[in-house]
């Protein structure tokens, strides 16, 4: 690894440690990481929006027209409509004309909602209903091998899924009080939901832990081991510099930890006094 690459890796490691330091409390290292990533992300998305949004979807579609005819002679003049709507959003900068920006917003939300309704109805209602209409497998009611609760194809699983789905649906009745038998079924429904949420939680937390491990591996493989040449071929020209950069970063974090400890002791002493 050359020195330039190591410097960038060190920056990545510094930002990783800075972000993890948030687990202790808000601190200058976290603030650096936060402001850097927020600023870079905003700038990055501005360019992405320009190159992947405006240029191909607007400018390139109108470019065969002439500016002095306001691109009305373009082969696709309809693209002027979204362009005008986009420009209307800029009226937000004027207090007098800011109401104009409500038109494109209303159009955007209205069209999107209109497009979403049949899609949602199909995916979340019709297809779910169709998938629920399944015959119960009485021949395999208790699962393969006699009695197997983990067999998701068994008749018992089918019954549980059906009853769970229906009772969860009953929980989401809003215009009827959850009392009596109805309330009992709704309570069973929320229990079913909670079991599902618990499983989902465990599954996702495991995925997050694997991300955490991956990040620690990055720090170890790409940063610490390069700094001390423990695995790769030694780089005699730069190895001293590698370690210097490593220790500068470590001193920053350790120094901050010592300062925090001293401050804590002072606070405790002043409270005791």
């Amino acid at each position: 690894m050359d020195f330039g690459t190591f410097l960038w890796t060190s920056l990545a490691a510094f930002l990783t440690l800075g972000t993890f330091s948030f687990l202790y409390k808000d601190n200058p290292f976290y603030k650096i990481a936060e402001h850097l990533v927020t600023g870079v992300a905003t700038g990055y998305f501005l360019i992405i929006l320009w190159h992947n949004g405006l240029v191909p979807n607007l400018f390139q579609r109108l470019e065969d027209g002439n500016w002095y005819l306001l691109w009305l002679d373009s082969s696709r003049p309809l693209y002027l409509i979204p362009a005008i709507l986009g420009v209307m959003m800029w009226t937000r900068f004027s207090k007098t004309w800011s109401w104009v920006s409500r038109w494109p917003m209303a159009l955007y939300i209205g069209i999107s909602a209109g497009v979403a309704v049949p899609v949602e109805m199909s995916a979340r209602v019709n297809k779910q209903l169709y998938a629920t209409m399944v015959a119960i497998d009485w021949n395999n009611f208790f699962g393969h091998g006699g009695f197997n609760l983990l067999d998701t194809t068994s008749g018992l699983s089918q019954v549980l899924i059906f009853v769970g789905a229906m009772s969860a649906l009953i929980y989401f009745f809003f215009s009827k009080a959850h009392t009596g038998v109805f309330g009992g079924v709704a309570t069973f429904g929320i229990w079913v939901l909670m079991i599902g949420f618990g499983a989902s939680f465990g599954f996702t937390v495991m995925a997050r832990i694997s991300l955490f491990i991956n990040r620690l591996q990055f720090i170890d493989d790409n940063w610490v081991q390069n700094a001390f040449n423990t695995v790769r071929e030694p780089n005699p020209n730069w190895s001293g510099w590698f370690q210097a950069v490593f220790w500068v970063i470590m001193v920053l974090f350790i120094g901050y930890a010592v300062k925090e400890f001293v401050d804590y002791r002072k606070r405790v002493r002043s409270q005791t006094a």
Partner: protein, 470 residues
């Protein structure tokens, strides 16, 4: 005039080599055909029969479905059919169109390499586009010339035992698989054995024309469900407008909002309202706007501080309008400040980093998370809990609800978020739609029970009534 001359010249220059090449190919094919290989005629399978070609249903056109009866030697008889090859008769004009497309691609590459559209390239591209349009307009006429001026082209293969093939092409005249609508198309199928020279051809199916349909009948169940729900909604909205009392059960999460605002006022700390990562078109975000309106109104009345960091610029604009009108409704328009709602960034974890930092620096008394959330849900909610804020969350993202349940004081689960906006707003339209939703759910439960019984007795006709085909 000059334009037309250029067009004619370009068309001629582009087409002449193609026609010449076709003549050469035709001559070589004739030479090959004139000297056929020796084939044992006893091995030739029975041809596919009863070939039919019809316009593909429920699409935007540019597609034909070809069906046939399997060869008698497919799965029985000599059982030597390996596959079926489907052919379409294509006029040579289609090749000329292809040549123009290649030319168009060359000009596009040149434009890319130059980095901008120069006048010369612009003119050249316009000429090619015009030539392509002109040729595409001639397609119906060229297809009517069958069998003159064209040849059979292989479209694709299907395995033995399969008796259908969809010839689906592009709609855009500038793409290579363009299939013209309203043109007479002809198809043929050949049963092919392991020796590709031993094959048997069906008769010709055609003429058939492709065209688009106005309605996708495969989605009729969606239309019926939509109509049912729509009628119910209109009915209950009218009922609510006439003053009927429509009951909505209390939602703990929403009732906690007022208490949380009061707590923030007493503590002299701000309220943080997060709209999530959804766009302004997401249903969850739209529901969140209603709740934000209610929170902003209370905030204006109590003169508490409100912080709304947003992820999407359009969401920011809408949220600003919502908060502004809420301050006006509360009789305090002068207290409204544009900086209450601000844009952070559109990168998920950068947004989380910024909001988390705000939580720990401003120490809001209450955090409200309503809208569409993804992997950031736990990061936000955990930080809020660390900062000691009362937290109320609501999302329709099923995978994120567990995290909010774990880390927040109150959570609106899925549809409760939509119900919350009706509960708070008490507007007839929202209350009516909520009531209609309940009836729709009741109908679904009933239909699901009948459906399971129908499945048990194999009344498949009933189940198929609900089958949506995209």
């Amino acid at each position: 005039m000059v334009y037309k001359l250029t067009l004619t010249l370009l068309t001629f220059l582009l087409i002449a080599p193609v026609v010449s090449a076709q003549e050469t190919v035709a001559a070589s094919v004739e030479a090959t055909v004139g000297d056929p290989p020796m084939i044992d005629s006893s091995l030739i399978p029975a041809p596919p029969s009863d070939i039919k070609a019809v316009d593909t249903d429920n699409d935007h056109g540019h597609s034909i479905t070809v069906t046939w009866e399997l060869s008698a030697d497919d799965g029985s008889g000599m059982n030597n059919v390996l596959s079926y090859e489907v052919f379409r008769w294509v006029p040579f004009l289609m090749d000329e169109l292809d040549t123009l497309r290649v030319e168009l691609a060359r000009v596009a590459a040149e434009i890319d390499s130059v980095g901008r559209l120069t006048g010369e390239l612009k003119d050249e591209r316009a000429v090619i586009w015009a030539a392509i349009d002109d040729m595409a307009d001639q397609m119906p006429e060229a297809h009517r010339m069958y069998p003159e001026g064209g040849e059979w082209r292989l479209l694709g293969k299907v395995a033995s035992g399969v008796a259908t093939y969809d010839d689906t092409g592009g709609k855009d005249r500038k793409v290579s698989d363009f299939i013209p609508d309203f043109s007479d198309l002809y198809f043929r199928v050949e049963a092919v054995t392991s020796d590709s020279a031993i094959r048997a051809a069906s008769g010709v199916a055609g003429p058939v024309q492709s065209y688009g349909q106005w309605f996708n009948t495969g989605r009729t169940p969606v239309f019926i469900a939509f109509m049912f729900f729509g009628i119910m909604t209109v009915f209950f909205v009218i009922k609510a407008r006439r003053g009927a009392e429509l009951y909505v059960r209390p939602l703990a999460g929403i009732e906690a909002v007022d208490d949380a605002i009061g707590r923030a006022t007493e503590m002299g700390r701000p309220i943080l309202y997060v709209l999530g990562l959804g766009t302004a078109a997401d249903v969850a975000t739209i529901a969140s706007f209603t709740i934000l309106g209610r929170v902003a109104k209370r905030v204006a009345e109590y003169q508490t501080e409100l912080i709304v960091p947003t992820y999407d610029p359009i969401v920011m604009s809408v949220a600003q309008e919502v908060v502004k009108s809420s301050f006006s409704d509360a009789g305090r328009p002068e207290d409204y400040n544009e900086d209450i709602v601000y844009f952070v960034t559109q990168l998920q974890f950068a947004y989380v980093a910024a909001v988390n930092g705000t939580m720990l620096r401003e120490l809001p008394a209450t955090n409200v998370y309503m809208g569409k959330f993804f992997a950031e849900s736990l990061l936000l909610a955990e930080t809020g809990a660390l900062a000691g804020s009362i937290q109320i969350a609501g999302t329709d993202e099923i995978a994120q609800i567990p995290f909010f349940i774990v880390a927040c004081d109150f959570t609106l689960i899925g549809e409760e978020l939509y119900a919350a906006s009706a509960y708070l707003g008490r507007e007839p339209v929202l209350l009516g739609s909520l009531k209609a939703q309940d009836y729709a759910k009741a109908a679904m439960i009933l239909l699901a029970i009948v459906g399971v019984v129908a499945a048990q007795f194999e009344w498949n006709w009933f189940i198929e009534l609900f089958h949506v085909v995209d």
